[in-house]
Amino acid sequence: MTFRKYLVLAGVTVFAAAGDSMLSHGMKETGSISIHHLQGVILAILNPWVAVGIVLLLAFFASYMNALSWADLTYVLPATSLGYVLLALVAKFALHEQVSPMRWLGIALISGGVGFVAGGPALTHPESPPMEEGAKDATPSANPVSATGAES
């Protein structure tokens, strides 16, 4: 695990939380959608909160895909749930809202779960051919790799 990879996981957490909250705020403004009025979906997307929420969720998706390229699904998923903890902490300390004991219990459970997974390896499944291929490639072209590596 490099610093960059931790940054990607942080991106997964933050973008998911911010995107979800914008989306739910926007959907509360637009109200309910019925099957008989499908154009309601289009109207929902035109709501600025929903639109910004969708952009943030796209950013979440990019970091999520990045993380899945080097880590297990069961490793990355708990990171998305840390977003709920983040939202509760923002509600408490930035918005000075009341956070009930049940919610603190929820925060404790999620944090505990994330701790359990983070203590183990990021990648467990046996077959990952692109990694081996990458390792083989890295040896003969050691110089160009280190040259571009210094650049980034």
Binding site: S69, G106, L109
Partner: protein, 126 residues
């Protein structure tokens, strides 16, 4: 009747979320470590590999279905039921599916984590 709609909606959301997550995870494992790829051959190789992967498109389609069914379910049922139920059931579903379809070693540590996170999400979002 409203309950049946709500729970039906939740189950549809969970099913398509799990299918989408599994397909995207499989696609990205086929693409390979993005950080190593970026260093070796640049952004366009990564973009090209992702866009030429059929699992990626199937996964995105499944996630789009999940997204729109979530919008419907949210407008039918209470947010305080739909959001936490869908999120926490998706966690449990994904742990099973990752073990079966992606052959991830979901050991006791990860099962405990999946249950803790699902319970925590249900409490927090409720």
């Amino acid at each position: 009747m409203k309950h049946a709609y709500t729970w039906g909606g939740i189950l549809i959301v969970v099913f398509f979320s799990v299918v989408g997550d599994i397909l995207i995870a499989r696609a990205m494992k086929q693409v390979g470590d993005v950080h190593a790829l970026l260093r070796r051959s640049g952004v366009w190789t990564v973009v090209g590999r992702v866009l030429s992967n059929s699992n990626f498109f199937l996964g995105v389609a499944a996630m789009a279905v999940a997204f729109f069914s979530l919008l419907f379910a949210l407008s039918w049922g209470d947010v305080s039921l739909v959001a936490p139920a869908a999120a926490s059931l998706t966690f449990i579903g994904n742990a099973f599916a990752a073990k079966i379809f992606l052959h991830e070693r979901v050991d006791r540590r990860r099962w405990i984590a999946a249950v803790l996170v699902a319970a925590g999400v249900a409490l927090l979002a409720g």
